[in-house]
Point group: C3
Chain length 159, copies 3
């Protein structure tokens, strides 16, 4: 166990704004020299999906989930004022104006800063997601790994 401070985030949400908050905190903590882990579970896994469709054998329900869920960080909706996709367009417009980083850029930055990115294998099974569909450089683990990381630090968030 190292002496470094630890920040461990469960990213459960599949909303663009909540994922932005998670990745801004993660990148901030990494910049202040924390060891940072983001444990992606349920809808939060969508932030790790590749944009292009990967041809894979899947059952019917798994195919349905795959089609209904956003493919990658850029496609996610807002938790508030989504208005059938208008909200995300407005937010992205003002983000551009203020030179704020987009969610895909924040995810990339987290990888560059060595934020440990874990995909929850149990919920991947439930939602029919396979490793080939997710970004490269991701770790795969379950709740035991999460507890192991979380119990060593004090900044623990569920987003």
């Amino acid at each position: 166990m190292s002496d470094k401070k630890k920040t461990t985030i469960v990213l459960f949400s599949g909303d663009y704004d909540k994922a932005m908050a998670a990745y801004i905190i993660a990148n901030g903590a990494a910049a202040y020299d924390h060891e940072v882990t983001i444990f992606h579970t349920f809808w939060g896994l969508n932030a790790l999906r590749k944009e292009n469709q990967i041809p894979l054998k899947k059952g019917f329900l798994e195919k349905m989930f795959g089609k209904m869920m956003p493919r990658g960080a850029d496609k996610m909706g807002l938790s508030k004022m989504n208005y059938l996709g208008m909200g995300p367009k407005m937010i992205k417009h003002v983000m551009k104006k203020h030179n704020a980083m987009t969610l895909p850029q924040l995810v990339e930055m987290a990888q560059e800063q060595n934020v440990k990115m874990i995909a929850c294998t149990m919920t991947m099974d439930l939602l029919g997601l396979q490793q080939e569909e997710l970004l490269d450089g991701i770790d795969y683990a379950g709740v035991a790994a999460y507890i192991g990381d979380a119990e060593q630090g004090n900044v623990n968030l569920f987003i």
Copy 2:
């Protein structure tokens, strides 16, 4: 105060998937020998409701809330892709296929593992819920008890 690690979760959400995440983390932490508390407040209280209706004297608004809220863990909806109840059916179908535990089973397991389950008395009053309607073996307390538990540990989550 014991030397055991502590995990304290506020379960505010009444969504099936979020409650699942809360109970999976709680059961995982208990398996790794943490002292675990789940403090159920607002819509999270619904996870503790008995399935059958208990005849009780209630005011009009309390009756309305009682009817509109899901009666027990099995009746809760999803935070995403609920689609008027289709989503929960799909999720439960894939859960069965993967031998994943259902939410009622996770709640039962938590009780067997001595996870301390608290119902927030202030929000019970607001939503008109009475002790007779909730599962047996629950503790009843307020925010002071929550602070007391949370300040002794480092894994603190709001779900």
Copy 3:
């Protein structure tokens, strides 16, 4: 760095019930002598808006956001059972009956108890909110200040 216990809450949500939970925990922790910070970001900033409209120069999108978002704690909706505003009315009715504090009263109490209230400057820019529109006595800061507060304590919540 003081020896006091610390509670640091990120209030991301713009829902009346979630903000109530955040402020009840904050006030409870302050009563038990914690140093408490609430870091308001994204929709959580709405809890800090003044009720009356402040005439300010804004761009088109900033005006739109300003109009669409609730002006102050009292105007916020519920995360569940909002029913076009019926839910908040019902909740406020039972709160009155049980002498529970309203959200604006909880915010006022937090200020009296010296809870540090921070508005996230980055998301203020995105949503076009200006300091003149927010309550007096607020601090203004970014993610670095949040990390600085959070890493010194163990009760860290994202709401």
